[in-house]
């Protein structure tokens, strides 16, 4: 309370609010609960035969409605050269759901690998603070190359190559049907992330997330930035899972919303903002509603 810090930036508030009025980790706790809930629901639907959410994250049925991972569906269409009606219905349903919910919300709110990677990131940061490891980065555009590469491979080989190594599907299947040997590959990936490059799979490679990212560019559900309340402390960017997505708003004042599809709508920035300058909003629709 005694000392007033000031920061440079487009935000209009001069003083940084020193005390958090809202509950810390509110959105993170909600998000993790939902992530665990749905993954446990997958497990329970089979194990206890309650049949609410049957299948795994590649393809499932929620109360009878087909849900299908877009990337898996595209691979199958390319490798088998067959267009199956249920496949198309499942992808359209996913598209509509995530158009309403924000695209990459899949990553941070549903994907079990992302959750493990978040925990891995904490270990990574701890090791880095102790100077025991160095951080490495890759070009974030690799994920588009991977997306194209695996779709191309499906077409060329007539086999869904990526589904063999897909860590999201491997973990999801292991949760529902019991552990599979391929978890060794998933563990290796996690170790790589912890000791070499922070959350590398999600950030640079994962083609599953790319489908959802593309939906995310069109989804109105976005993080909203209130210039009037922001004191430019930049703490949001230190906790953000994909820090560059906040630049256009918080640093450059180009948009009131975080427009990137890469934003996972995880809410970590909302939790950390003492100025309460960030919130979930609906672009285009805020004024109407």
């Amino acid at each position: 309370m005694s000392k007033v810090k000031t920061f440079k930036g487009p935000g209009l508030r001069i003083e940084n609010s020193p005390q958090a009025k809202h509950r810390k980790n509110k959105w993170r706790n909600i998000r993790w609960s939902i992530l665990l809930f749905f993954n446990i629901l997958f497990f329970a639907s089979f194990y206890f035969d309650i049949q609410i959410l049957e299948g795994s994250l590649s393809a499932s049925r929620f109360l009878g409605f087909h849900l299908i991972d877009p990337l898996a569906a595209f691979q199958i269409i390319l490798s088998s050269r067959i267009l199956m009606v249920n496949l198309v219905i499942g992808v359209i349903t996913i598209f509509i759901i995530y158009l309403m919910l924000g695209g990459r919300t899949f990553c941070s709110w549903i994907c079990p690998y992302h959750w493990l990677a978040e925990l891995g990131e904490k270990i990574h940061l701890m090791l880095k603070r102790q100077n025991r490891i160095k951080a490495h980065t890759f070009d974030k555009k690799i994920r588009y190359l991977f997306y194209g590469l695996f779709l191309g491979l499906s077409f060329l080989t007539g086999y869904t190559v990526f589904e063999t190594i897909n860590p999201v599907a491997i973990i999801s299947r292991s949760i529902v049907y019991g552990p599979a040997l391929l978890l060794i590959w998933v563990s290796a990936l996690l170790v790589f992330e912890v000791v070499y490059s922070k959350r590398a799979w999600c950030r640079y490679f994962c083609p599953v997330g790319v489908s959802y990212q593309l939906i995310g560019y069109a989804s109105p559900l976005r993080i909203k930035w209130d210039k009037e309340k922001c004191s430019n402390c930049k703490r949001c960017q230190t906790v953000c899972l994909v820090p560059y997505v906040l630049h256009e708003s918080v640093n450059k004042d180009h948009s009131q919303y975080v427009d990137s599809g890469a934003c996972t709508r995880c809410g970590l920035c909302i939790d950390v903002c003492d100025d309460e300058a960030l919130s979930f909003g609906l672009k285009y629709l805020d004024k109407i509603i």
């Binding site: 049957e54 393809a59 088998s80 067959i82 190559v161 063999t164 299947r173 599979a180």
Partner: protein
């Protein structure tokens, strides 16, 4: 990269570029190289309605919904040890064959059509074909009845009570009226209802089993060779197995061979139920009747 060792540490942008190129190139090579290997496995028995193996592997999304709805729960998902078709469904016939249940729920559950939705009845499935793979051990060919053989197995290992009950109830079904009387008197049973038999099974001793073995060896039905594969076949509308006489060229004896007919769909129930220690009848997955004949 080698010449960089002499200079200052590799600059960041260059590192990103080279590592990116290496990762992409590596992934592409690994994918192209591994794909034929990944597809090479063909001897997995697929659920009913499965497309030809190549197309099946191309279209299966590996979600496991077929497994979830399977009433006898015989479908499993392949692990990496099962020849690289990771996550795709298969059936181990010996552990439990497909019973071709009404409505074929696995086919209906399949979201991609890998299990072809055109299939509506179990008898039209083409999972594979059964063959007498071990004529040397087949009880029918040897002219032996299965009940004494199975009781003998129980003498060696009686740990599976369910199996014991099954053998006893199978035996009772085939006894004549007089034989049933003898059986009841031996164990002082008032009736031969399921509950009574369950109680009997729980306290059977090896001496009892030895008596049962001698008893069944001399029973009326013991003259008839084993017919388990025929009796257990889930296809009842058509004849899948016929028993034909063949003359053994070595000792000129007449043997009764089970001969698989065209209507066999390869469900695997016969392999599951075959009483010999190693199944004498096995399924060749994905093969058609005509191919095996040739």
């Amino acid at each position: 990269m080698a010449d960089n060792n002499n200079k200052k540490p590799m600059n960041r942008r260059r590192f990103i570029k080279t590592s990116t190129a290496m990762i992409i190139g590596g992934a592409a090579l690994a994918g192209l190289g591994a794909a034929p290997l990944l597809r090479s496995q063909t001897d997995l028995l697929r659920p009913p309605g499965a497309l030809d193996e190549d197309l099946f592997l191309a279209s299966c999304i590996k979600c496991g919904q077929c497994l979830q709805v399977c009433p006898p729960q015989v479908i499993k998902l392949a692990n990496i040890t099962q020849g690289f078709a990771v996550g795709s469904p298969y059936i181990t016939a010996r552990a439990g064959g497909c019973i071709l249940c009404a409505g074929l729920p696995c086919v209906l559950a399949c979201p991609t059509g890998s299990l072809n939705h055109d299939l509506s009845e179990g008898k039209d499935a083409q999972m594979g074909i059964a063959v007498i793979s071990q004529p040397n051990t087949c009880l029918s060919i040897a002219g032996k009845n299965d009940i004494p053989y199975r009781i003998n197995q129980l003498v060696e290992d009686q740990s599976d009570k369910e199996k014991t009950s099954q053998v006893i109830s199978d035996m009772i079904k085939r006894l004549t009226k007089d034989e049933k009387e003898t059986f009841r008197n031996q164990f002082s049973l008032n009736d031969i209802e399921t509950g009574t038999i369950e109680k009997l099974v729980s306290k059977l001793e090896n001496s009892d089993l030895n008596w049962l073995k001698d008893f069944t060896d001399s029973a009326q039905f013991s003259k008839i060779g084993c017919r388990i594969c025929f009796d257990e076949c889930p296809i009842k509308s058509e004849k899948t197995i016929s028993f034909e006489e063949k003359i053994n060229s070595k000792n000129a004896k007449t043997e009764i061979w089970p001969v698989l007919q065209k209507s066999c769909v390869g469900c695997g129930v016969c392999e599951e139920k075959c009483p010999t220690t190693e199944a004498s009848i096995t399924i060749i997955p994905g093969k058609k009747w005509q191919e095996v004949q040739a």
